[in-house]
Amino acid sequence: MARAGREAAYRELIRRYERPIFALLFRMVRDRELAEDLAQETFIKALNAIESYRPEFKFSSWIFKIANNAAIDHLRRRELDTLSLDGSPHAATPEAMQATALQIGARQESPLDAVEARELGGAIEAAIGRLRPEYRSCILLRHVEGRAYEEIAEILDLPLGTVKTYIHRARNELRQSLAHLREE
């Protein structure tokens, strides 16, 4: 019975964090299949080591730290520079392209809006993809996940000032990358 309760608790943790962890990893590595593998690795690592989790820290900080380390380790092993909204740059077949494509949520109102949003979304995704991985983690945790600077510093094991610097530099780089959109 205790075992069943524990399994239910694990599933609840997965349910609660699968989307933010997957979203962070997906935008870090820009490959759907790979992001899913890394997300699985993150949860398996976290849940198998749950005894070592210290409750004085936030669980979200702990699991984001594991996920970020997984992404950074992967990016160090393999460099990815290109972003394709149509799917993974490593997909060999059209089916694989479709399977790895970024799935846009239903935020659009009309086909024209959809195209516009897709272009804008694509531009910002591409611009984020061109950032240094450290800047990317910071900006995603801050502005996509809405984490506080202090929590980001804890997740990334960086001093608070460095986190602020990275986020400001990232926003500067994004501003420059997206300047053409403002001019249009």
């Binding site: 205790a2 599933r11 992001a35 398996i44 970024l102 949520g105 001093p159 602020k164 610097t165």
Partner: protein, 202 residues
């Protein structure tokens, strides 16, 4: 338009503006400075664009795939209770043994409590005797230390020093200064280094 007042907005000010918590003086500057306003508006647009990125989720069945590779381990406390329960209820013999053990422990405890309540005077006498013995041992120890102290070769010099209040005061002050210097030196040695924080400006 009012003249531009105060310094341009810092990155921290821009953060505060994005969070809707910019100080009134900086807000006044922002209203009058086109460069800062343009910068703030651009940052606001970028942040909105990032926040509006499409939601992405892993494929269905993600939790099941994870759970196939996760070992659901019970905490030690739960495992121990489970193990005891399994052993106790394994056979009639083990159940009888556990019950006897429980009766023995509970009986001893109850007996001990009953005896204590019935023999309070004996216990008080025993307590008094133990206290007297402990006091005697302490007194013997103090006497031993004192005689050892008196027999030391430097005791005569110490006695002379104590005989003159002026010299005793000087020696005490000297010892106090030495002690405080030692404490200060130790504090400096044991103080944690202040962490260096990078400058927050872009």
């Amino acid at each position: 338009m009012s003249p531009v007042s105060g310094p341009h907005l810092t990155p921290d000010d821009l953060d505060a503006w994005l969070a809707g918590a910019l100080a009134p003086a900086a807000l006044e500057h922002l209203a009058a400075c086109p460069a800062c306003r343009e910068r703030a508006e651009t940052e606001g647009e970028i942040v909105s664009l990032i926040a509006a990125l499409p939601l992405v989720s892993p494929a269905a069945g993600f939790a099941d795939r994870v759970m196939t590779r996760v070992a659901v381990v019970q905490p030690l406390r739960v495992r121990t209770i489970d193990l005891i329960r399994q052993r106790v209820f394994a056979s009639r013999r083990s159940l009888a043994f556990a019950a006897s053990l429980l009766v023995l422990v509970a009986g001893s405890m109850a007996g001990s409590i009953a005896w204590t309540l019935g023999h309070q005077e004996t216990l008080a006498a025993l307590g008094g005797w133990l206290t007297a013995q402990a006091g005697q041992a302490v007194w013997l120890g103090v006497r031993g230390v004192a005689s050892n102290f008196i027999e030391q070769p430097w005791f005569a010099g110490f006695k002379d020093l104590a005989a003159s209040p002026g010299r005793l005061g000087f020696a005490t002050a000297l010892a106090l200064v030495a002690y405080l210097s030692g404490v200060l030196a130790l504090r400096r040695l044991l103080a944690l280094p202040t962490p260096r924080v990078a400058h927050a400006s872009a």
